[in-house]
Symmetry: C2
Subunit: 367 residues, 2 copies
Amino acid sequence: MTDDRFIATYQVTSEPARIAERAQALAIEQSVECPLEAIGDLWVRDAVLGRVAGIDEIAEGRYAVRIALASATAPAEPGQLINMLFGNASIQPDVALTDVELPPLYLKAFGGPKLGSDGIRALAGAHGRALTASALKPQGLSPQSLAAIAGRLAAGGVDLIKDDHGLADQAYSPFAARIAAVWRAVRNSNDSSGRRTLYAPHVSGSLDDMRRQLDGIRAEGIPALMMMPMIVGLSNFHAIAKEAEGLVVLAHPALSGATRIAPPLLLGRLFRLFGADATVFPHHGGRFASTPQTCRALADAARGAWGGLKPCLPAPAGGIAIDRVAELLSFYGEDVMLLIGGSLLAAREQLSEQAARFAAEVAAHGR
Amino acid sequence: MTDDRFIATYQVTSEPARIAERAQALAIEQSVECPLEAIGDLWVRDAVLGRVAGIDEIAEGRYAVRIALASATAPAEPGQLINMLFGNASIQPDVALTDVELPPLYLKAFGGPKLGSDGIRALAGAHGRALTASALKPQGLSPQSLAAIAGRLAAGGVDLIKDDHGLADQAYSPFAARIAAVWRAVRNSNDSSGRRTLYAPHVSGSLDDMRRQLDGIRAEGIPALMMMPMIVGLSNFHAIAKEAEGLVVLAHPALSGATRIAPPLLLGRLFRLFGADATVFPHHGGRFASTPQTCRALADAARGAWGGLKPCLPAPAGGIAIDRVAELLSFYGEDVMLLIGGSLLAAREQLSEQAARFAAEVAAHGR
């Protein structure tokens, strides 16, 4: 593949007689966005106008339409790339974005995860098995109460503890006070256990807000952070991911499901491209509708070979419980981080024991 | 309404027997996000947990579910507000976000448009009639070619010229060179006509990128700018809207249609709340599926009375042509900015004349 074009694949609903015309309209919408008769410049028609590269019927009235879009329209800037891939087409209900083939220039420019799966394993000291993660909830608790939960999860031996994505900079749990208290609890537990449980505070708001929060994370010596790329904006997610070099970058899928972009592409491939070391996504059978096929494709996109990019660790979540550990590990294999939040927390006073059971089940799998 | 809670309305698809349970699950998902048995803190159960405030059947198997969410979970920060409104629920295919009732604290904190419709009219010198707008396209043209188009549109008397939302900082049309060339052409035309055509460059990328671009706009004395709030992130959109005080802020709907958030709420109300002076949206009957009801609700949300917020000017667009001017003005009334892009540009050498016809039709309407 040359650097000139990237190939976007869309699923389009159409009558058979109209699909060729619809595909051409989509190629125009996502490139020049004006009638062909408005284009006088030959170079624009030749080098900039999107080209229909293929139309395949995948079901009755459903087509996979491949469109070759000019890389020149999307310099390596995450917001502009998603804009040229799906900006206007996202408003058209008959279209979903399902895949993109990107030429080497984008992989080189964006760079993907800095640490990747191996980097997370090295920091957490977790090898030869899947990783475990949990979340600090519920919304509304004070820094001290969240720290107490974190301490119990760390004592149980969970590899990574993340803020709930709803935790921001609320009056009842200000960011600075929260991350200090939680990290103190986790560090204390690490000091006595010899383990290296990681903590990922949730970083949010404008790029300015996120940068201030990253400064706080660095100052505390905290080894990880989490962002919601679709709410903070892909460009700002990428900016912070670069600035956070050395820290584990987790991506959270909030507001992503709403977009009609296939989860394997968005949460797997694109979040990885822009710098996620691990990507949180709903596993099937939990609170979110998600098929096994989608989950497998997402995990493959996140951790499979892709140019020289490091693998991004899939982190299935969303209402899974300990009794599904064996099933999930059989499904994903060991190169995964299982994220169990609420159902662990329901153990309350027995949280450490429940977390230890989670860690032990994961460690024992396949032995 | 007190400041304690904001009321989100969702449309939920459900069997009648399960809607009460589904509504309760939604109230949990968008507040504490964990099983109730995981909540030991009484204050969290009382003051933070979302409450189902109403369930109304709106069609067979479709319900309007009203949920009262705690304002304490969403300090006045745009990203966190959308996160608590729809972050995780966006991943659940049976739910759409259709409305929100916000207490006064948010209106006061966010402030809405700085200029509003009247401010745009004052800057453009356009009173007692609808406004006209057009777009610089196609993607791929040089700054000089785009400037030539802008000059012709300004000579024709269009009130506002905006960059196509696909124009970013491409090699063939770098941001700085483009805005300088286009504004020179518009200013020259204004100088000889005595009119005050506005130019809105498209500002994109990370917050850092947008800030640099805003500096360039200020340095050139350009009176307006356009952003894509759903791609740059609502928090960064709001930050730049505040920093751009005195300039017209246009919001573009790219990537918004994909989210299952009702367009009147997102493009009308929320974009206005966070600072849009005008909001671009697809009018029905163009290239985008949009019903007259949705368009009317969107215009009402953008410009109707809402606390002390200034009205945001609705800017219907998306494949409309001059022959629909009368129809659109009858539909929206005069407090609107009609945006005709591609179909004007197709006039090429007769662009000035076509733009003048557009301006004249709008000015003559109802006389």
